[in-house]
Amino acid sequence: MIEISRHISFGQYVDNGSRLTRLDPRAKILCFALAVAAFTYISQFAALALCLFFCLFLQWLSRLPLRYVLQGMRMFISFLVILYAFQVLFYTSSTQATSVIWHWGVLTISWEGLMHSTQVDLRVIFLYYLTSLLMLTTSLVDLADGAEALLRPLRRLGLPVHELVMVFVIALKFVPLLITEVERLSIAQATRGVRFGRGNPWQRIRALSGIIVPLFMSGLQRVEMLSTAMEARCYRAGYRGWRRSKLHALQWAGADSLALACCLLLCGLLVALNFVSPF
């Protein structure tokens, strides 16, 4: 409880100068979108195996300690396990007859249910991995710049692209901030006699509930501080005839094209494999 940020890597940025961190954010976001689309589409185990290889390759490229990234997924996976149980127990298929393994009242465990839920959950794990890797290898500013550059055409339709991207990125990056805040509050309460991680589940939830209200309060305070700081520095999202300039202009390099090409190839392979593969 005291050093939770050690165990949660979601939303952190690790600047280790790896190939992935150096890629143009536009290329990373495009590849990410492509991979997400392909990963969501596939429904065969052979294709999922290819996804696993792809993730391993990315992990190798990122030069991040594998343990760190996996540790960050621990909490997410325990949540997923509960979901998995529900999925399996309440699985109903409209198209095919199910081969029932165990049955009691409304609860059923069927072979198809097991297979289907495993596939769904594996996909979710891969998607979570891609998202956290994108954030681990891309800084806040890069992420915002890249997304904005990609969405720029939508401005013609009158969409406030810059503002939307800003809001989205701030929301993402508030995750690690809130985690530090939980850490601070739990230290403050532990020093005054609160026990965390002890006793029965009910007592544990009671101990946590004391953190929620102050967490919201300080979250709101932080938002206010952020908006004051932005206004104090004359932040303007941009208005008619006026464009924000950038300190670091994005530059598309050969490596970015290569990454995009590889990603397209992978998507093609995944879709093809999904068609061909018997299981």
Binding site: R6, P65, A188, Q189, R192, R195
Partner: protein, 294 residues
């Protein structure tokens, strides 16, 4: 000895790309009923050391003893330790989490399940000990307090636990000179009136030289100097090299050393410096008497 730290190693954010080795073989003792100052530049491991003393961080090597008992060995009750030894964090915002002053200060007593009357009495006593009138502050919102007041409320919250010792992390950081003096006076009063053991950290010897009974100088997670303020100040040049702010008097003495290399620099007050100077300027004393005689 209240605390004994034996060869403690601790790495913050262990197992992540952000890992920092904060304590590297730190050994020290903290005597009971005294004021111990832990002095060191930023990143020396002061705050980590305080949290390790309370068992909030578990050392990767070495041991922490409280009255001779290892705090991480089975029969030892860490929660009980945290109720007996309080901590006041560097920024008071890091400590206050309830909406009103009264609720925040009474958090500890309520945790201890004390009777409401007793808890109320404790809150009143603690708030008044830090110089905040109970009736006036009880219902104030913690968010509406000034920085100095927040710090006092944080201290009151710890006092309400009736601790035997309080650890202060940089208690004078961010206070104006008057606030600093008031706070140091409060620490002295807590020691004499409540017989509390006090441990405080600071990056400057200027504040703590007059106050502390023992000074421990920390650098890169290790103890480099320790002893009475005078013994430590005798190494003034080494302290300067570590970026530790010295008391003004010591700085003057150090400056005068270019004239008299043998001048002592472990002086704490103006009077001592004067005595020391007189030793080197034999005729100065007679001049002074001449001036003051008519």
């Amino acid at each position: 000895m209240l605390f004994e730290v034996k060869d403690v190693y601790y790495t913050r954010m262990r197992g992540t790309p952000f890992a920092v080795e904060a304590l590297k073989g730190c050994s020290l003792t903290i005597p009971e009923g005294k004021i111990t100052a832990i002095v060191g530049p930023t990143q020396a491991g002061k705050s980590t050391l305080l949290l390790t003393l309370l068992g909030l961080f578990r050392p990767s090597r070495g041991s922490v003893l409280f009255r001779g008992q290892d705090i991480h060995q089975a029969p030892f009750d860490l929660e009980a330790l945290r109720l007996r030894v309080g901590i006041v964090f560097q920024s008071p915002e890091a400590q206050l989490f309830e909406e009103t002053v009264g609720k925040d200060v009474s958090f500890g007593p309520r945790r201890k399940k004390l009777a409401p009357a007793q808890s109320r009495h404790l809150v009143q006593e603690s708030l008044e000990a830090v110089g905040l009138p109970y009736e006036e502050f009880r219902t104030r919102y913690t968010a509406s307090l000034s920085g100095g007041q927040k710090r006092r409320v944080a201290i009151a919250g710890v006092l309400a636990l009736e601790p035997e010792a309080i650890l202060f992390d940089e208690p004078t950081a961010g206070l104006d000179p008057q606030g600093r003096q008031e706070l140091l006076a409060l620490l002295q009063r807590l020691k004499t009136e409540h017989q509390l053991t006090i441990v405080l950290t600071s990056s400057s010897l200027a504040d703590v030289a007059m106050l502390a009974d023992q000074v421990i100088v920390l650098h890169e997670g290790r103890v480099v100097l320790s002893g009475s303020p005078r013994t430590v100040l005798a190494h003034a040049e080494e302290l300067l090299a570590l970026d530790i702010t010295l008391p003004e008097i010591t700085q003057i003495a150090l400056g005068l050393r270019s004239l008299w290399p043998a001048l002592r620099c472990d002086v704490l007050t103006l009077d001592e410096l004067e005595e020391e100077l007189v030793r080197f300027l034999p005729h100065a004393a007679s001049q002074e008497t001449q001036l003051s005689s008519p």
